[in-house]
Symmetry: C2
Subunit: 114 residues, 2 copies
């Protein structure tokens, strides 16, 4: 059986915060999700995965570009996966990470002006 990590996909949240005041609960959830993004290494990893063919990349191709150890890279990828931005699948020796369609758009949608 292939191990699949359960992702806590960013729940449908919220109306644009410029239009409607965020509830305390929505603010908690949004802040939690944004914390996963608010790290330079994670932003770069997400960007590399997202810009890869099919928005998917092997962990083996993510280590060199960010110049960190494999355990460190894997930790950051785990945070992004748990926050619902990536999914992880194992094929052969390596883990592959794919962008979750719509996950970034959801955050983006909360921040837009209208």
């Amino acid at each position: 059986m292939i191990p699949i990590e359960v992702t806590d996909a960013p729940a449908t949240c919220c109306a644009p915060l410029v239009r409607e005041t965020l509830s305390a609960q929505d603010a908690e959830r949004l802040a939690h999700t944004m914390k996963a993004l608010a790290d330079p290494t994670r932003l770069r990893l997400l960007s590399i995965v997202a810009a890869s063919d099919g928005a998917e990349a092997c962990v083996c191709d993510l280590i060199e570009p960010v110049g960190l150890s494999q355990p460190t890279v894997s930790h950051h990828l785990k945070v992004l996966t748990e926050a619902g931005f990536l999914t992880r699948s194992k094929r052969g020796t390596w883990a592959y990470y794919a962008l979750v369609p719509g996950a970034l758009d959801q955050i983006s949608g909360v921040l837009v002006a209208a």
Copy 2:
């Protein structure tokens, strides 16, 4: 002389991260800016200011909705101001905070899919 806080407005950054891999430098700047947002109280304060008439609010009207002390609220507003999301002006007894036009859109634009 009226004290004016210098804002470090989010510099023009960056192409959508899905389209183009973020440079290390852009990732640092973006993460720094996103850290200012990745807090539930700050998200709520920003949302209340943004949803107010003229996208401006008196600090005196921001304390009760978030249920925190004035010094704590002022601290969070300072972080948002320094990150370039708000500007602060003092009129009479109170400080007023206004949303910086385009500041949120810039972050949003980096996260969108295209």
